[in-house]
């Protein structure tokens, strides 16, 4: 049976970096996926995830519910991505990043074009629509948890998810799964 998050947090606070490494390995994929789709660039996603881990370690004593370390860590990442989003006024590099990403995997079950179309459609959403859609349907959070993470009220989040879904359907109207 794997060690609980709370136990790993306690060991980390006692100076055991191995315990923190286990926590990182437990959450890095989920964090990486969210950051990549939110920011549209693997480089930016890696920077956001790395920074979130460092911030989490620095402030671990403030994690009041260590058994919910994952949710606390995700709050740090969501805010970190918002900060990046606020700063990034330059053009995104979706196509290049996606080609790299697909090339780095052996999985050819979906075409590069299909993934590019999805990335373009996501990039076409307003950031808070994209955020809500990803948290709800990719990360699988319920609306109460989304409200806690984002500070937005549940009705507003439901509206954002719906509008994001409507816009994605429209943007992908003529695109077929690869």
């Amino acid at each position: 049976m794997s060690e609980s998050d709370a136990a790993l947090v306690a060991r980390t606070l006692d100076g055991d970096l191995g315990a923190f490494a286990t926590l990182m390995s437990r959450y890095r994929d989920a964090l990486g996926r969210y950051a990549f789709h939110m920011l549209g660039s693997r480089e930016d996603a890696e920077e956001a995830v790395q920074d979130s881990f460092l911030r989490a370690h620095r402030a671990l004593r403030d994690c009041r519910q260590p058994e919910r370390f994952g949710a606390w860590l995700f709050t740090i990442l969501v805010n970190r991505c918002r900060t990046s989003q606020r700063r990034l006024f330059h053009r995104r590099r979706f196509s290049e990043e996606l080609r790299d990403d697909v090339a780095a995997t052996a999985d050819t079950s979906s075409s590069i074009e299909w993934r590019e179309e999805i990335a373009r459609a996501l990039a076409g959403l307003r950031p808070h629509y994209r955020e809500a859609f990803l948290l709800r349907y990719v990360e699988g959070l319920d609306y109460a948890e989304m409200a806690r993470l984002t500070g937005a009220r549940e009705p507003a989040l439901r509206m954002r998810v719906k509008r994001a879904a409507d816009q994605l359907r429209e943007l992908l109207r003529d695109v077929h799964a690869g």
């Binding site: 100076g15 970096l17 923190f20 990182m24 890095r28 994929d29 990486g32 996926r33 990549f36 789709h37 693997r42 996603a45 890696e46 790395q50 881990f53 460092l54 911030r55 370690h57 620095r58 402030a59 004593r61 403030d62 994690c63 009041r64 606390w72 709050t75 740090i76 805010n79 970190r80 918002r82 900060t83 700063r87 006024f89 990403d101 995997t105 979906s110 999805i118 459609a121 996501l122 950031p127 808070h128 955020e131 990803l134 709800r136 349907y137 990719v138 319920d142 609306y143 806690r148 984002t150 500070g151 937005a152 439901r158 998810v161 879904a165 994605l168 359907r169 992908l172 109207r173 799964a177």
Partner: protein, 165 residues
């Protein structure tokens, strides 16, 4: 839980969601890079934060300040002014997040005062305009009742705006 649409039967978005749920590979050395930074920051005595950690933090702050100057016209080297933020709320923990701390919910705690339910923190900020909000008990986002609400919050969280002149 089914809410706004049924992702299973939604012909157009079902495959999109499935695609987005696929793993995204990050640099496999990322964890090691984080550990390297932490090893450099952790003194062998076991004390929580060594000088290297503070140096890293200061470098990060300097970088953040540089970016803020680029975006918002704040000058990193400008003289700072002491600013006290205060919130009255029944809580076991209050943090402040904003432009001045990179919206890091783990960076800036408020201290509980002698009066019950009053939390304060003193910041030193160069002149500029800052958006911020309080995070109460890690789940409730509360704007500062003493300052005007920001009209340009991109993500819909209740946000205040502070102008330091």
């Amino acid at each position: 839980m089914r809410d706004d649409f049924d992702e299973v039967t939604d012909e157009r978005l079902g495959p999109v969601i499935a695609e987005l749920r696929r793993p995204v590979r990050l640099d496999p050395t990322l964890d090691q890079r984080v550990l390297s930074v932490l090893r450099g920051a952790e003194p062998r005595s076991g004390a929580r934060r060594g000088p290297a950690a503070w140096a890293g933090g200061l470098m990060g702050a300097a970088l953040a300040a540089g970016l803020l100057f680029t975006v918002l016209g704040r000058e990193p080297g400008a003289p700072t002014r002491p600013i006290e933020l205060r919130l009255s709320a029944p809580a076991s923990q209050v943090m402040v997040v904003g432009d001045f701390n990179d919206w890091d919910p783990a960076a800036t705690p408020l201290r509980p005062g002698n009066e019950g339910g009053t939390w304060t923190v003193e910041l030193r900020l160069p002149p500029g305009r800052y958006r911020y909000t309080f995070l109460v008990d890690g789940r409730r986002w509360v704007p500062d009742p003493a300052e005007p609400r920001a009209a340009d919050d991109d993500f819909g969280a209740p946000t205040s705006v502070l102008t330091v002149s």
